[in-house]
């Protein structure tokens, strides 16, 4: 079995020199802010990677251009929709997000440190979990579906106000055990094809898988507007799809496995700029 999958993998990942390398290009947003899409790997992965690179560098010319302008970026129309929701009161307490948090711009600095350990709750929380906690317990509003439209729009808004800030996810202290669990998942081969995240995203980034340019699988650009489904996609939705595509049994959005995986994968991109909402294939 292992021999077969090895052969399959070898043929599927045949390197095509022409398009193999990530581009040498700089992401300047709105002709204003320069985003860091390439930087020295954080210590904890420096043994396996020299540099960490944003998925932006692996996409085609037109796709990269689409992200460089807030008008060309179709994800931003959903950010605008979330801005309206931000300022609209909802729930039994008659509050809006703005009632406590002020303008959405005040939330700069939040996205780069999530997922993180929440002292009061005694658990690692993703941004989605924290949003739902606020909605349920402070607004008296209904929780949003984890990867539903309302939630992904809101995480896009929160990412957008932190663009340019370096991802800075804590991997030690109370978050450490979750981080270790995520790391184990990342390197465990599963499913029919016996692939781990690392099989593609660490051992073969830059190569072509069929006609797609494999990235390092960084998530600093999430939620991302995918040209493929013309909508914003959440991290856990992408994890689920990726695992399903490699013919392994997948986990659910919001599951402890995906929370751990998000913490770990996010930390592999520490130092890259928050880019969400990005534009990808």
């Amino acid at each position: 079995m292992k021999k077969l999958t090895g052969a399959f993998l070898a043929s599927a990942l045949a390197a095509t020199p022409l398009l193999a390398e990530p581009v040498d290009d700089t992401l300047i947003l709105n002709e204003d802010i320069t985003l860091v899409t390439r930087t020295a790997a954080p210590d904890h992965v420096s043994d396996v990677l020299d540099e960490v690179m944003s998925g932006w560098l692996f996409r085609g010319t037109e796709t990269r251009a689409m992200q460089a302008d807030d008008f060309d970026n179709p994800g931003m129309i959903f950010v605008e929709q979330a801005e309206e929701v931000w300022n609209t009161a909802e729930g039994s307490e008659g509050k809006s997000c703005a009632s406590c948090h002020g303008a959405s711009e005040e939330m700069a600095g939040v996205r780069p440190v999530y997922p993180k350990f929440n002292e009061d709750a005694g658990e690692v929380r993703t941004l989605e979990m924290q949003i739902n906690d606020c909605r349920e317990n402070r607004m008296g509003a209904e929780k949003w579906k984890y990867t539903g439209g309302s939630m992904v729009n809101m995480t896009a808004l929160l990412a957008s106000v932190s663009r340019g800030m370096p991802v800075n996810i804590a991997i030690d202290g109370p978050a450490q055990s979750t981080w270790e669990a995520g790391k184990e998942l990342y390197y465990t081969r599963t499913g029919q094809l016996e692939l781990a995240c690392a099989s593609c995203h660490e051992a073969n980034y830059g190569n072509m898988i069929r006609a797609d340019h494999l990235s390092q699988g960084q998530i600093n650009g999430f939620p991302t507007y995918r040209l493929k489904n013309t909508k914003l996609n959440a991290v856990h939705a992408r994890f689920k799809g990726c695992i399903r595509d490699t013919r392994a049994e997948t986990f659910s959005p919001g599951s402890p496995e995906f929370i751990a995986l998000e913490l770990y994968v996010g930390s592999r991109g520490n130092g890259l700029s928050v880019e969400g909402p990005s534009v990808r294939n």
Partner: protein
């Protein structure tokens, strides 16, 4: 000349090429072109179509059409189930006879832009766009 099947095919292919049309023009595409041109001859010249050589994803492909003297530009995707894509009609206050948009392509195919110029003549440009299947099928 003996009308063998081979010769008939070659003549047919030659006729297509001589007409300047992409080889596999479907009936629907021919109808759309005929409706636009009224059967007039379509030459080459004052029309530029900009499209990527390889589409990142067939669902959203950025294209641009531009011309100096076009009154109207029609865009067709010759390999789509229905070839019509868009028609741009330029008004008095159009600063340039150019427009950009994003289109869906069902597979690798020719995208064709036909312009009706101010003098009543028609010109066309075409571009082959490769549409590929992504990584893990996802």
């Amino acid at each position: 000349m003996e009308l063998t099947r081979r010769n008939a095919l070659l003549m047919g292919a030659g006729a297509f090429l001589a007409a300047g049309l992409p080889f596999r023009a479907s009936a629907a595409a021919e109808d759309a072109i005929a409706a636009f041109t009224g059967g007039a001859e379509v030459g080459t010249g004052d029309i530029t179509l900009t499209a990527p050589e390889i589409a990142e994803n067939g669902n959203t492909v950025p294209i641009e059409v531009s011309s100096e003297a076009a009154v109207e530009i029609m865009v067709l995707a010759m390999g789509n189930p229905t070839p019509s894509v868009a028609t741009f009609k330029f008004g008095k206050l159009a600063a340039s006879r150019a427009a950009s948009t994003r289109i869906r392509l069902a597979g690798t195919q020719d995208v064709v832009a036909i312009a009706k110029l101010e003098d009543g003549s028609f010109v066309q440009a075409s571009s082959t766009v490769k549409v590929t299947i992504g990584g893990c099928g996802g």
